[in-house]
Protein backbone atom coordinates (compact mmCIF):
# COMPACT_ATOMS: atom_id res chain seq x y z
CA UNK A 1 0.00 0.00 0.00
CA UNK A 2 2.84 2.41 0.92
CA UNK A 3 4.52 1.74 -2.40
CA UNK A 4 1.29 2.29 -4.31
CA UNK A 5 0.66 5.54 -2.44
CA UNK A 6 4.19 6.79 -3.15
CA UNK A 7 3.80 5.95 -6.83
CA UNK A 8 0.59 7.95 -6.92
CA UNK A 9 2.26 10.91 -5.19
CA UNK A 10 5.17 10.84 -7.66
CA UNK A 11 2.72 10.73 -10.56
CA UNK A 12 0.73 13.68 -9.16
CA UNK A 13 3.96 15.66 -8.62
CA UNK A 14 5.06 14.98 -12.18
CA UNK A 15 1.73 16.12 -13.58
CA UNK A 16 1.78 19.25 -11.43
CA UNK A 17 5.37 19.97 -12.53
CA UNK A 18 6.75 19.66 -8.96
CA UNK A 19 10.26 18.45 -8.26
CA UNK A 20 9.86 15.96 -5.40
CA UNK A 21 12.78 14.50 -3.43
CA UNK A 22 12.65 10.97 -1.95
CA UNK A 23 12.45 12.48 1.53
CA UNK A 24 9.54 14.78 0.56
CA UNK A 25 7.74 11.85 -1.06
CA UNK A 26 8.07 9.81 2.16
CA UNK A 27 6.73 12.70 4.28
CA UNK A 28 3.75 13.22 1.97
CA UNK A 29 3.05 9.50 1.87
CA UNK A 30 3.01 9.36 5.67
CA UNK A 31 0.66 12.35 5.88
CA UNK A 32 -1.62 10.85 3.23
CA UNK A 33 -1.77 7.61 5.22
CA UNK A 34 -2.83 9.53 8.32
CA UNK A 35 -5.52 11.30 6.33
CA UNK A 36 -6.80 8.00 4.99
CA UNK A 37 -6.96 6.60 8.52
CA UNK A 38 -8.87 9.64 9.73
CA UNK A 39 -11.36 9.35 6.89
CA UNK A 40 -11.88 5.68 7.62
CA UNK A 41 -12.58 6.55 11.25
CA UNK A 42 -14.98 9.32 10.24
CA UNK A 43 -16.83 6.99 7.89
CA UNK A 44 -17.70 4.78 10.88
CA UNK A 45 -19.79 7.58 12.45
CA UNK A 46 -23.49 6.90 11.98
CA UNK A 47 -25.91 9.38 10.36
CA UNK A 48 -23.21 11.46 8.61
CA UNK A 49 -25.38 11.80 5.51
CA UNK A 50 -27.93 13.76 7.52
CA UNK A 51 -25.55 16.73 7.75
CA UNK A 52 -24.80 19.38 5.14
CA UNK A 53 -21.15 19.17 4.14
CA UNK A 54 -19.04 21.85 5.82
CA UNK A 55 -16.37 23.19 3.50
CA UNK A 56 -14.64 25.63 5.83
CA UNK A 57 -14.07 25.41 9.56
CA UNK A 58 -14.01 29.20 10.04
CA UNK A 59 -14.61 32.58 8.37
CA UNK A 60 -12.20 35.47 7.76
CA UNK A 61 -12.84 39.16 8.32
CA UNK A 62 -12.86 42.00 5.76
CA UNK A 63 -9.16 42.47 6.47
CA UNK A 64 -8.53 39.26 4.51
CA UNK A 65 -9.30 41.16 1.32
CA UNK A 66 -6.31 42.31 -0.74
CA UNK A 67 -6.03 46.05 -1.30
CA UNK A 68 -6.06 46.97 -4.97
CA UNK A 69 -2.34 47.53 -5.52
CA UNK A 70 -0.79 45.94 -8.60
CA UNK A 71 2.54 44.10 -8.42
CA UNK A 72 5.17 43.78 -11.12
CA UNK A 73 3.97 41.11 -13.56
CA UNK A 74 6.06 38.26 -14.93
CA UNK A 75 8.38 39.07 -17.78
CA UNK A 76 7.13 37.81 -21.14
CA UNK A 77 9.87 35.19 -21.10
CA UNK A 78 8.81 33.94 -17.66
CA UNK A 79 5.12 34.01 -18.59
CA UNK A 80 5.74 31.84 -21.64
CA UNK A 81 8.31 29.54 -20.05
CA UNK A 82 5.90 26.58 -19.79
CA UNK A 83 4.37 27.07 -23.23
CA UNK A 84 5.02 24.38 -25.80
CA UNK A 85 4.95 26.80 -28.70
CA UNK A 86 4.61 30.57 -28.97
CA UNK A 87 3.81 33.02 -31.77
CA UNK A 88 4.32 36.79 -31.39
CA UNK A 89 4.23 36.64 -27.60
CA UNK A 90 1.16 34.41 -27.54
CA UNK A 91 0.77 30.76 -26.68
CA UNK A 92 -0.07 28.62 -29.69
CA UNK A 93 -2.52 25.75 -29.23
CA UNK A 94 -4.44 23.57 -31.69
CA UNK A 95 -7.47 25.29 -33.15
CA UNK A 96 -10.37 25.11 -30.70
CA UNK A 97 -13.28 26.41 -32.78
CA UNK A 98 -14.75 25.20 -36.02
CA UNK A 99 -15.95 28.20 -37.99
Amino acid sequence: MDEKRETLIRLAAERLLFDLSEEECRILSKEAAELEDSMEEAAKIEGLDDYEPMFFPFECESAALREDEPVAPLSLEEALSNAGETVEGMIRVPKVVER
Partner: protein
Protein backbone atom coordinates in the same frame (compact mmCIF):
# COMPACT_ATOMS: atom_id res chain seq x y z
CA UNK B 1 -52.02 33.29 -32.97
CA UNK B 2 -50.58 36.18 -30.92
CA UNK B 3 -47.44 35.61 -28.87
CA UNK B 4 -45.76 37.40 -26.01
CA UNK B 5 -42.04 37.36 -25.33
CA UNK B 6 -40.25 36.98 -22.00
CA UNK B 7 -36.66 38.19 -22.19
CA UNK B 8 -34.00 37.95 -19.51
CA UNK B 9 -30.48 39.32 -19.72
CA UNK B 10 -27.09 38.38 -18.30
CA UNK B 11 -24.67 41.29 -18.40
CA UNK B 12 -20.94 40.94 -17.75
CA UNK B 13 -19.22 44.12 -16.67
CA UNK B 14 -15.41 44.35 -16.55
CA UNK B 15 -14.47 46.32 -13.44
CA UNK B 16 -12.08 49.26 -13.50
CA UNK B 17 -9.56 48.23 -10.85
CA UNK B 18 -5.79 48.57 -10.74
CA UNK B 19 -5.24 44.85 -10.24
CA UNK B 20 -7.03 41.64 -11.16
CA UNK B 21 -9.79 39.85 -9.26
CA UNK B 22 -7.76 37.09 -7.62
CA UNK B 23 -4.18 38.16 -8.37
CA UNK B 24 -2.29 41.43 -8.07
CA UNK B 25 -1.37 41.47 -11.77
CA UNK B 26 -2.01 44.89 -13.37
CA UNK B 27 -5.51 45.33 -14.77
CA UNK B 28 -5.22 47.72 -17.66
CA UNK B 29 -5.05 47.30 -21.40
CA UNK B 30 -1.72 46.38 -22.94
CA UNK B 31 -0.87 45.93 -26.59
CA UNK B 32 1.84 43.45 -25.57
CA UNK B 33 0.25 40.02 -25.01
CA UNK B 34 0.98 38.01 -21.86
CA UNK B 35 2.71 40.90 -20.10
CA UNK B 36 0.07 41.50 -17.42
CA UNK B 37 0.15 38.14 -15.73
CA UNK B 38 1.48 36.66 -12.51
CA UNK B 39 2.17 33.04 -11.66
CA UNK B 40 -1.41 32.77 -10.36
CA UNK B 41 -2.93 33.89 -13.68
CA UNK B 42 -0.83 31.25 -15.45
CA UNK B 43 -2.08 28.65 -12.93
CA UNK B 44 1.33 27.67 -11.63
CA UNK B 45 0.94 24.91 -9.03
CA UNK B 46 0.76 26.05 -5.44
CA UNK B 47 -0.30 29.63 -6.22
CA UNK B 48 -3.28 30.90 -4.28
CA UNK B 49 -6.04 33.42 -5.06
CA UNK B 50 -6.49 36.62 -3.04
CA UNK B 51 -9.71 38.67 -3.29
CA UNK B 52 -9.44 42.24 -4.59
CA UNK B 53 -11.08 44.59 -2.05
CA UNK B 54 -11.85 47.28 -4.64
CA UNK B 55 -13.69 44.80 -6.87
CA UNK B 56 -15.79 43.84 -3.84
CA UNK B 57 -16.49 47.53 -3.13
CA UNK B 58 -17.62 48.06 -6.73
CA UNK B 59 -19.88 45.01 -6.44
CA UNK B 60 -21.40 46.33 -3.21
CA UNK B 61 -22.03 49.79 -4.74
CA UNK B 62 -23.72 48.32 -7.80
CA UNK B 63 -25.82 45.88 -5.75
CA UNK B 64 -26.90 48.74 -3.48
CA UNK B 65 -27.76 51.01 -6.45
CA UNK B 66 -29.83 48.14 -7.88
CA UNK B 67 -31.79 47.85 -4.60
CA UNK B 68 -30.45 44.32 -3.94
CA UNK B 69 -29.99 42.42 -0.69
CA UNK B 70 -26.24 42.27 -0.05
CA UNK B 71 -24.81 39.06 1.37
CA UNK B 72 -22.20 40.06 3.95
CA UNK B 73 -20.57 36.61 3.77
CA UNK B 74 -18.42 36.60 0.66
CA UNK B 75 -18.12 33.10 -0.79
CA UNK B 76 -16.78 31.80 -4.08
CA UNK B 77 -17.21 28.65 -6.15
CA UNK B 78 -15.44 26.90 -9.00
CA UNK B 79 -17.03 26.47 -12.39
CA UNK B 80 -15.02 23.57 -13.79
CA UNK B 81 -14.34 23.26 -17.49
CA UNK B 82 -11.39 22.39 -19.70
CA UNK B 83 -10.68 24.99 -22.33
CA UNK B 84 -7.52 26.95 -23.15
CA UNK B 85 -9.03 30.29 -22.06
CA UNK B 86 -8.67 29.23 -18.42
CA UNK B 87 -5.33 27.67 -17.53
CA UNK B 88 -6.59 26.60 -14.08
CA UNK B 89 -9.29 24.40 -15.59
CA UNK B 90 -11.96 26.35 -13.72
CA UNK B 91 -13.35 29.86 -13.30
CA UNK B 92 -13.84 31.32 -9.83
CA UNK B 93 -17.37 32.69 -9.57
CA UNK B 94 -20.22 32.96 -7.03
CA UNK B 95 -22.65 30.30 -8.18
CA UNK B 96 -24.20 29.41 -4.82
CA UNK B 97 -23.93 32.65 -2.86
CA UNK B 98 -24.05 35.78 -5.06
CA UNK B 99 -23.04 39.10 -3.51
CA UNK B 100 -26.42 40.63 -4.39
CA UNK B 101 -29.89 39.12 -4.72
CA UNK B 102 -33.26 40.52 -5.84
CA UNK B 103 -33.51 44.21 -6.62
CA UNK B 104 -34.77 46.12 -9.62
CA UNK B 105 -33.97 48.86 -12.10
CA UNK B 106 -36.27 51.32 -13.84
CA UNK B 107 -36.15 51.84 -17.57
CA UNK B 108 -37.83 54.55 -19.61
CA UNK B 109 -40.33 53.31 -22.19
CA UNK B 110 -40.98 54.79 -25.63
CA UNK B 111 -43.86 56.91 -24.32
CA UNK B 112 -41.74 58.33 -21.47
CA UNK B 113 -43.36 56.12 -18.82
CA UNK B 114 -41.21 54.03 -16.47
CA UNK B 115 -41.12 50.25 -16.27
CA UNK B 116 -39.59 48.38 -13.35
CA UNK B 117 -37.51 45.34 -14.28
CA UNK B 118 -36.83 42.81 -11.53
CA UNK B 119 -33.33 41.44 -11.01
CA UNK B 120 -32.25 38.01 -9.93
CA UNK B 121 -28.64 38.35 -8.81
CA UNK B 122 -25.29 40.10 -9.02
CA UNK B 123 -22.08 38.18 -8.53
CA UNK B 124 -18.33 38.62 -8.79
CA UNK B 125 -16.15 36.45 -10.98
CA UNK B 126 -13.05 36.51 -13.18
CA UNK B 127 -12.70 36.90 -16.93
CA UNK B 128 -11.08 34.31 -19.21
CA UNK B 129 -8.14 34.89 -21.55
CA UNK B 130 -8.46 36.32 -25.04
CA UNK B 131 -8.25 33.82 -27.87
CA UNK B 132 -7.34 34.60 -31.45
CA UNK B 133 -8.67 31.93 -33.77
CA UNK B 134 -6.68 31.55 -36.96
CA UNK B 135 -7.12 29.16 -39.86
CA UNK B 136 -4.69 26.59 -38.50
CA UNK B 137 -4.45 27.30 -34.79
CA UNK B 138 -5.53 29.39 -31.80
CA UNK B 139 -3.33 31.96 -30.04
CA UNK B 140 -3.74 32.80 -26.35
CA UNK B 141 -3.21 36.12 -24.58
CA UNK B 142 -3.68 35.81 -20.81
CA UNK B 143 -3.66 39.57 -20.09
CA UNK B 144 -7.46 39.46 -19.76
CA UNK B 145 -7.47 36.26 -17.67
CA UNK B 146 -8.50 37.18 -14.15
CA UNK B 147 -9.91 40.65 -14.91
CA UNK B 148 -12.65 41.30 -12.32
CA UNK B 149 -16.18 40.94 -13.63
CA UNK B 150 -19.59 41.62 -12.19
CA UNK B 151 -22.42 39.62 -13.69
CA UNK B 152 -25.92 41.07 -13.39
CA UNK B 153 -28.83 38.76 -14.17
CA UNK B 154 -32.35 40.05 -14.75
CA UNK B 155 -35.67 38.29 -14.37
CA UNK B 156 -37.41 37.48 -17.69
CA UNK B 157 -39.52 40.64 -17.49
CA UNK B 158 -38.52 42.41 -20.69
CA UNK B 159 -40.84 42.05 -23.65
CA UNK B 160 -39.06 43.42 -26.73
CA UNK B 161 -35.68 44.12 -28.27
CA UNK B 162 -36.12 47.84 -27.66
CA UNK B 163 -36.86 47.31 -23.95
CA UNK B 164 -33.83 45.04 -23.61
CA UNK B 165 -31.59 47.65 -25.23
CA UNK B 166 -32.92 50.28 -22.83
CA UNK B 167 -32.26 47.95 -19.92
CA UNK B 168 -28.65 47.47 -21.02
CA UNK B 169 -28.29 51.22 -21.48
CA UNK B 170 -29.57 51.82 -17.94
CA UNK B 171 -27.07 49.28 -16.56
CA UNK B 172 -24.32 50.91 -18.63
CA UNK B 173 -25.17 54.34 -17.19
CA UNK B 174 -25.10 52.85 -13.72
CA UNK B 175 -21.71 51.14 -13.97
CA UNK B 176 -20.08 54.06 -15.79
CA UNK B 177 -21.29 56.71 -13.33
CA UNK B 178 -20.42 54.50 -10.34
CA UNK B 179 -16.89 54.61 -11.85
CA UNK B 180 -16.98 50.82 -11.68
CA UNK B 181 -16.37 50.25 -15.40
CA UNK B 182 -15.74 51.90 -18.75
CA UNK B 183 -18.95 50.20 -19.91
CA UNK B 184 -17.69 50.16 -23.48
CA UNK B 185 -19.53 47.45 -25.37
CA UNK B 186 -17.28 47.91 -28.41
CA UNK B 187 -14.21 47.11 -26.26
CA UNK B 188 -15.88 44.20 -24.49
CA UNK B 189 -15.96 45.83 -21.06
CA UNK B 190 -19.74 45.33 -21.08
CA UNK B 191 -21.00 42.12 -22.70
CA UNK B 192 -24.45 40.74 -22.93
CA UNK B 193 -26.16 37.36 -23.30
CA UNK B 194 -29.94 37.25 -23.69
CA UNK B 195 -32.54 34.55 -23.04
CA UNK B 196 -35.63 34.70 -25.22
CA UNK B 197 -38.78 32.65 -24.87
CA UNK B 198 -42.22 33.17 -26.32
CA UNK B 199 -45.64 31.80 -25.40
CA UNK B 200 -49.24 32.34 -26.53
CA UNK B 201 -50.43 35.73 -25.27
CA UNK B 202 -53.10 34.22 -23.00
CA UNK B 203 -50.69 31.67 -21.48
CA UNK B 204 -49.24 32.10 -17.98
CA UNK B 205 -46.37 29.67 -18.57
CA UNK B 206 -43.04 30.66 -20.12
CA UNK B 207 -41.96 29.04 -23.36
CA UNK B 208 -38.70 27.17 -24.00
CA UNK B 209 -35.66 29.37 -23.41
CA UNK B 210 -33.21 30.12 -26.21
CA UNK B 211 -29.96 31.84 -25.33
CA UNK B 212 -28.20 34.31 -27.66
CA UNK B 213 -24.55 34.79 -26.69
CA UNK B 214 -22.05 37.65 -26.92
CA UNK B 215 -24.05 40.61 -28.15
CA UNK B 216 -21.75 43.58 -28.45
CA UNK B 217 -23.90 46.63 -29.18
CA UNK B 218 -27.30 48.03 -28.21
CA UNK B 219 -28.34 47.84 -31.84
CA UNK B 220 -27.42 44.16 -32.12
CA UNK B 221 -29.22 43.37 -28.86
CA UNK B 222 -32.41 44.92 -30.19
CA UNK B 223 -32.16 43.31 -33.61
CA UNK B 224 -31.11 39.87 -32.37
CA UNK B 225 -34.02 39.68 -29.93
CA UNK B 226 -36.62 40.89 -32.41
CA UNK B 227 -35.35 38.44 -35.02
CA UNK B 228 -35.37 35.59 -32.50
CA UNK B 229 -38.96 36.40 -31.51
CA UNK B 230 -39.93 36.27 -35.18
CA UNK B 231 -38.09 32.95 -35.69
CA UNK B 232 -39.76 31.31 -32.69
CA UNK B 233 -43.22 32.71 -33.61
CA UNK B 234 -42.87 31.26 -37.10
CA UNK B 235 -41.93 27.82 -35.71
CA UNK B 236 -44.92 27.79 -33.34
CA UNK B 237 -47.29 28.86 -36.11
CA UNK B 238 -46.07 25.92 -38.16
CA UNK B 239 -46.75 23.63 -35.20
CA UNK B 240 -43.05 22.98 -34.59
CA UNK B 241 -41.58 22.84 -31.08
CA UNK B 242 -39.00 25.35 -29.82
CA UNK B 243 -35.77 23.58 -28.96
CA UNK B 244 -33.62 24.78 -26.07
CA UNK B 245 -30.56 26.17 -27.83
CA UNK B 246 -27.61 28.50 -27.62
CA UNK B 247 -27.46 30.81 -30.64
CA UNK B 248 -25.40 33.74 -31.86
CA UNK B 249 -26.38 36.83 -33.81
CA UNK B 250 -25.05 37.03 -37.35
CA UNK B 251 -24.84 40.71 -38.29
CA UNK B 252 -24.43 40.04 -42.00
CA UNK B 253 -27.71 38.13 -42.35
CA UNK B 254 -29.48 39.92 -39.49
CA UNK B 255 -30.57 36.59 -38.00
CA UNK B 256 -29.60 34.26 -35.15
CA UNK B 257 -27.60 31.11 -35.91
CA UNK B 258 -27.39 27.85 -33.97
CA UNK B 259 -24.25 27.37 -31.86
CA UNK B 260 -25.28 24.30 -29.85
CA UNK B 261 -28.38 22.59 -28.52
CA UNK B 262 -28.99 22.31 -24.79
CA UNK B 263 -28.38 18.57 -25.03
CA UNK B 264 -24.76 19.43 -25.76
CA UNK B 265 -24.57 21.80 -22.79
CA UNK B 266 -21.55 21.30 -20.54
CA UNK B 267 -21.82 20.14 -16.93
CA UNK B 268 -19.77 22.69 -15.03
CA UNK B 269 -19.52 20.66 -11.80
CA UNK B 270 -19.74 23.68 -9.51
CA UNK B 271 -17.99 23.21 -6.16
CA UNK B 272 -17.10 25.67 -3.39
CA UNK B 273 -13.72 27.34 -4.03
CA UNK B 274 -11.49 25.62 -1.51
CA UNK B 275 -8.67 28.18 -1.67
CA UNK B 276 -10.74 31.17 -0.54
CA UNK B 277 -12.03 30.98 3.00
CA UNK B 278 -15.43 32.75 3.31
CA UNK B 279 -14.92 36.41 4.19
CA UNK B 280 -17.35 38.11 6.57
CA UNK B 281 -17.68 41.72 5.32
CA UNK B 282 -18.11 44.08 8.25
CA UNK B 283 -21.04 46.50 8.36
CA UNK B 284 -18.53 49.36 8.32
CA UNK B 285 -16.86 48.01 5.16
CA UNK B 286 -20.20 47.72 3.34
CA UNK B 287 -21.43 51.12 4.57
CA UNK B 288 -18.20 52.87 3.53
CA UNK B 289 -18.28 51.30 0.06
CA UNK B 290 -21.85 52.56 -0.44
CA UNK B 291 -21.09 55.98 1.02
CA UNK B 292 -18.16 56.48 -1.34
CA UNK B 293 -20.25 55.79 -4.44
CA UNK B 294 -20.19 58.81 -6.76
CA UNK B 295 -23.37 60.56 -7.87
CA UNK B 296 -25.11 58.18 -10.27
CA UNK B 297 -26.54 58.97 -13.70
CA UNK B 298 -30.21 59.26 -12.80
CA UNK B 299 -29.58 61.46 -9.79
CA UNK B 300 -27.21 63.70 -11.72
CA UNK B 301 -29.77 64.07 -14.52
CA UNK B 302 -32.50 64.98 -12.02
CA UNK B 303 -30.18 67.58 -10.47
CA UNK B 304 -29.43 69.14 -13.86
CA UNK B 305 -33.14 69.36 -14.68
CA UNK B 306 -33.80 71.01 -11.31
CA UNK B 307 -31.10 73.57 -12.14
CA UNK B 308 -33.13 74.53 -15.19
CA UNK B 309 -31.02 72.68 -17.77
CA UNK B 310 -33.20 71.29 -20.56
CA UNK B 311 -33.47 67.50 -20.91
CA UNK B 312 -31.75 67.75 -24.30
CA UNK B 313 -28.81 69.72 -22.91
CA UNK B 314 -28.57 67.44 -19.86
CA UNK B 315 -28.35 64.38 -22.11
CA UNK B 316 -25.53 65.97 -24.12
CA UNK B 317 -23.53 66.65 -20.94
CA UNK B 318 -24.29 63.20 -19.51
CA UNK B 319 -23.28 61.36 -22.68
CA UNK B 320 -19.81 60.95 -21.24
CA UNK B 321 -19.06 60.68 -17.53
CA UNK B 322 -15.84 62.69 -17.92
CA UNK B 323 -17.81 65.51 -19.55
CA UNK B 324 -20.32 65.52 -16.71
CA UNK B 325 -17.46 65.58 -14.19
CA UNK B 326 -15.89 68.57 -15.98
CA UNK B 327 -19.24 70.37 -16.18
CA UNK B 328 -19.84 69.80 -12.45
CA UNK B 329 -16.46 71.38 -11.71
CA UNK B 330 -17.48 74.42 -13.81
CA UNK B 331 -20.67 74.75 -11.76
CA UNK B 332 -18.75 74.22 -8.52
CA UNK B 333 -16.59 77.24 -9.47
CA UNK B 334 -19.73 79.34 -9.26
CA UNK B 335 -20.61 79.56 -12.96
CA UNK B 336 -24.18 80.64 -13.78
CA UNK B 337 -25.92 77.48 -14.99
CA UNK B 338 -27.52 78.80 -18.18
CA UNK B 339 -24.42 80.52 -19.55
CA UNK B 340 -22.21 77.58 -18.53
CA UNK B 341 -24.52 75.12 -20.29
CA UNK B 342 -24.50 77.12 -23.54
CA UNK B 343 -20.72 77.54 -23.47
CA UNK B 344 -20.17 73.88 -22.66
CA UNK B 345 -22.65 72.33 -25.07
CA UNK B 346 -21.87 74.60 -27.99
CA UNK B 347 -18.35 76.02 -27.81
CA UNK B 348 -16.59 73.31 -25.79
CA UNK B 349 -18.20 70.44 -27.69
CA UNK B 350 -17.44 72.04 -31.06
CA UNK B 351 -13.82 72.71 -30.06
CA UNK B 352 -13.35 69.14 -28.84
CA UNK B 353 -14.75 67.85 -32.10
CA UNK B 354 -12.46 70.12 -34.10
CA UNK B 355 -9.38 69.20 -32.03
CA UNK B 356 -10.26 65.51 -32.08
CA UNK B 357 -9.73 65.40 -28.31
CA UNK B 358 -11.67 64.13 -25.34
CA UNK B 359 -12.67 66.35 -22.43
CA UNK B 360 -9.85 65.01 -20.27
CA UNK B 361 -7.42 66.52 -22.78
CA UNK B 362 -9.27 69.84 -23.00
CA UNK B 363 -6.75 72.65 -22.41
CA UNK B 364 -9.04 75.00 -20.46
CA UNK B 365 -9.48 74.44 -16.74
CA UNK B 366 -13.08 74.29 -15.49
CA UNK B 367 -12.39 77.44 -13.46
CA UNK B 368 -11.58 79.37 -16.64
CA UNK B 369 -14.82 78.24 -18.28
CA UNK B 370 -16.72 79.31 -15.17
CA UNK B 371 -15.16 82.78 -15.43
CA UNK B 372 -16.21 83.01 -19.07
CA UNK B 373 -19.76 81.97 -18.22
CA UNK B 374 -19.85 84.65 -15.52
CA UNK B 375 -18.75 87.21 -18.10
CA UNK B 376 -21.95 86.58 -20.01
CA UNK B 377 -23.91 87.02 -16.80
CA UNK B 378 -22.24 90.41 -16.35
CA UNK B 379 -23.82 91.54 -19.57
CA UNK B 380 -21.06 90.95 -22.09
CA UNK B 381 -22.49 90.01 -25.47
CA UNK B 382 -22.30 86.31 -26.24
CA UNK B 383 -20.04 87.00 -29.19
CA UNK B 384 -17.49 88.70 -26.94
CA UNK B 385 -17.52 85.72 -24.57
CA UNK B 386 -16.97 83.36 -27.49
CA UNK B 387 -14.05 85.47 -28.68
CA UNK B 388 -12.50 85.31 -25.19
CA UNK B 389 -13.13 81.56 -25.09
CA UNK B 390 -11.20 80.99 -28.32
CA UNK B 391 -8.40 83.30 -27.20
CA UNK B 392 -8.00 81.31 -23.97
CA UNK B 393 -8.14 78.08 -25.88
CA UNK B 394 -5.16 79.20 -27.90
CA UNK B 395 -3.45 80.72 -24.84
CA UNK B 396 -4.52 78.37 -22.02
CA UNK B 397 -2.01 79.87 -19.58
CA UNK B 398 -3.46 83.37 -19.99
CA UNK B 399 -5.86 84.84 -17.47
CA UNK B 400 -9.30 86.11 -18.40
CA UNK B 401 -8.11 89.69 -17.83
CA UNK B 402 -5.27 89.13 -20.31
CA UNK B 403 -7.76 87.80 -22.85
CA UNK B 404 -10.02 90.83 -22.35
CA UNK B 405 -7.05 93.16 -22.77
CA UNK B 406 -5.79 91.39 -25.90
CA UNK B 407 -9.24 91.48 -27.47
CA UNK B 408 -10.03 95.03 -26.25
CA UNK B 409 -13.17 93.73 -24.59
CA UNK B 410 -14.58 96.44 -22.36
CA UNK B 411 -17.37 95.90 -19.90
CA UNK B 412 -20.78 96.93 -21.23
CA UNK B 413 -21.74 100.42 -20.00
CA UNK B 414 -24.66 100.98 -17.71
CA UNK B 415 -25.76 103.87 -19.92
CA UNK B 416 -29.56 103.58 -19.68
CA UNK B 417 -30.11 106.62 -21.89
CA UNK B 418 -27.82 105.15 -24.55
CA UNK B 419 -29.68 101.82 -24.50
CA UNK B 420 -33.02 103.59 -24.77
CA UNK B 421 -31.86 105.69 -27.70
CA UNK B 422 -30.57 102.60 -29.52
CA UNK B 423 -33.83 100.72 -28.92
CA UNK B 424 -35.98 103.61 -30.15
CA UNK B 425 -33.79 103.96 -33.24
CA UNK B 426 -34.17 100.22 -33.97
CA UNK B 427 -37.94 100.48 -33.60
CA UNK B 428 -38.10 103.49 -35.93
CA UNK B 429 -36.18 101.55 -38.56
CA UNK B 430 -38.45 98.48 -38.32
CA UNK B 431 -42.12 99.58 -38.23
CA UNK B 432 -43.26 96.30 -39.80
CA UNK B 433 -41.84 94.29 -36.92
CA UNK B 434 -43.74 96.52 -34.49
CA UNK B 435 -46.95 95.74 -36.37
CA UNK B 436 -46.12 92.03 -36.34
CA UNK B 437 -45.51 92.09 -32.60
CA UNK B 438 -48.81 93.89 -31.97
CA UNK B 439 -50.51 91.28 -34.17
CA UNK B 440 -49.30 88.61 -31.75
CA UNK B 441 -46.17 87.45 -33.54
CA UNK B 442 -43.78 86.99 -30.57
CA UNK B 443 -40.85 86.22 -32.87
CA UNK B 444 -40.84 89.87 -33.90
CA UNK B 445 -39.49 90.75 -30.43
CA UNK B 446 -36.52 88.43 -30.91
CA UNK B 447 -35.86 89.95 -34.31
CA UNK B 448 -35.86 93.50 -32.93
CA UNK B 449 -33.63 92.61 -29.96
CA UNK B 450 -31.21 90.89 -32.32
CA UNK B 451 -31.09 93.99 -34.56
CA UNK B 452 -30.42 96.23 -31.56
CA UNK B 453 -27.66 93.95 -30.19
CA UNK B 454 -26.06 93.96 -33.60
CA UNK B 455 -26.18 97.75 -33.76
CA UNK B 456 -24.80 98.06 -30.20
CA UNK B 457 -21.53 96.41 -31.24
CA UNK B 458 -20.85 95.28 -27.71
CA UNK B 459 -21.44 98.69 -26.08
CA UNK B 460 -24.48 97.50 -24.12
CA UNK B 461 -25.40 94.20 -22.51
CA UNK B 462 -27.96 91.99 -24.33
CA UNK B 463 -30.13 91.67 -21.22
CA UNK B 464 -30.33 95.49 -20.85
CA UNK B 465 -31.28 95.82 -24.51
CA UNK B 466 -33.94 93.09 -24.25
CA UNK B 467 -35.43 94.71 -21.15
CA UNK B 468 -35.61 98.17 -22.75
CA UNK B 469 -37.05 96.73 -25.96
CA UNK B 470 -39.85 95.01 -24.05
CA UNK B 471 -40.71 98.21 -22.24
CA UNK B 472 -40.68 100.37 -25.38
CA UNK B 473 -42.72 97.87 -27.38
CA UNK B 474 -45.26 97.79 -24.57
CA UNK B 475 -45.81 101.51 -25.05
CA UNK B 476 -46.56 101.17 -28.77
Amino acid sequence: MEFKAAIGLEIHVALKTKSKMFSAAPNYFSHEPNTHVTVYDMAHPGTMPTVNAEAVRHGIRLAHALHMDIDPLLRFDRKCYFYPDSPKGFQITQQFHPLGRGGFIEIECEDGSKKTIGLKRLHLEEDACKMFHRVEDTLLDYNRAGVPLVEIVSLPELSSGREAARFVEAIRHLVVYALASDGKMEDGSLRCDVNVSIAPRESDALGTKVEIKNLNSLRNIERAIDQEILRQSELLRQGMPIEGQTRRYDEASGSTKLMRSKAEAADYRYVPEANIVPIRLSEAFIAKAIEECPELYERKRERYLKLGISAKDADVILYDVAMAQYFDKVLACGAPTKAATVLFNVEVQASLHKMGKSIVEFPLEPKRLAELASLQEQGYPHQAVVQAFHYLLEHPKSTLEEAQLALSLTPPTQDEEGVLELVRQTLDENPRSIADYKAGKDRAMGFLVGKAIQAAKGRYGPSDIAKAMKEELGKK
